[in-house]
Subunit: 116 residues, 2 copies
DNA sequence: CTGCATCCGATTAGATACTG
DNA sequence: CAGTATCTAATCGGATGCAG
């Protein structure tokens, strides 16, 4: 893990994942397989159409997800994790594990402080 | 890896790492051990005092790094990765690996496109 | 149903000057 | 040397209206 102040590879990975709803979008797609736009929107309370579209476009442009448009009326668009996108699964899983442990630890510290 | 739309653990981990200079700060501390403020600043071209201070404070408040102030004149403050912070090393390493592979892949795709 | 455009507020980061 | 305060620019995200 060499350090290059001009360019850090960690940030390349971070760049894909950063965005208010990106992790949750990826987790949904990884869990459910192929999901259409409206289902995704329904599954993520609080997200706006604009942000869902924006994040999906970004993930698509990085080839993390596949986007298939069915020329029907009304339109149907289905999203899924691409084969390449699956290479992110281990990383997301590791982040999930660490994050969960971190939150747990924080709450324990909080409990300790309340006792005193 | 369960999905909770109201709270995603991946974002807890992300929250620690996100910030324009945070990954590079962590990598420097992980590589060099104990480093004083001015050395850190010198090692990271482009960072301002304000941002370095801000990010260090945030990492400190999450107990990822230790901060030791020596009451001397001129002042000396040394930063290092905390014992708890070391639990992030594997994750950062994994992100580095993925990011590096991702950038490599992107550049290969670019080369292919130039040939056509 | 899916998606774009526009406007606006909030957050983030950079520049600069100042302090013990 | 290490840190704070202030001002400004850029980016991000939310709300809303419109379109194929």
């Amino acid at each position: 893990m060499n350090i290059d102040a001009n360019h850090c590879s960690v940030e390349d990975a971070l760049g894909i994942l950063v965005g208010k709803w990106k992790p949750i979008i990826l987790l949904h797609l990884m869990e459910k397989g192929t999901v259409r736009f409206s289902d995704l929107k329904r599954s993520i309370p609080g997200i706006t159409q604009k942000m869902l579209t924006k994040h999906l476009r970004e993930l698509e442009s990085e080839e993390i997800i596949d986007r298939v448009v069915y020329p029907e009326v009304p339109p149907r668009v289905e999203y899924s994790i691409s084969e390449y996108g699956r290479t992110l699964e281990d990383l997301l899983h590791a982040m999930h594990e660490w994050g969960q442990a971190h939150t747990k630890r924080k709450q324990q510290k909080l409990q300790e402080n309340l006792k005193t």
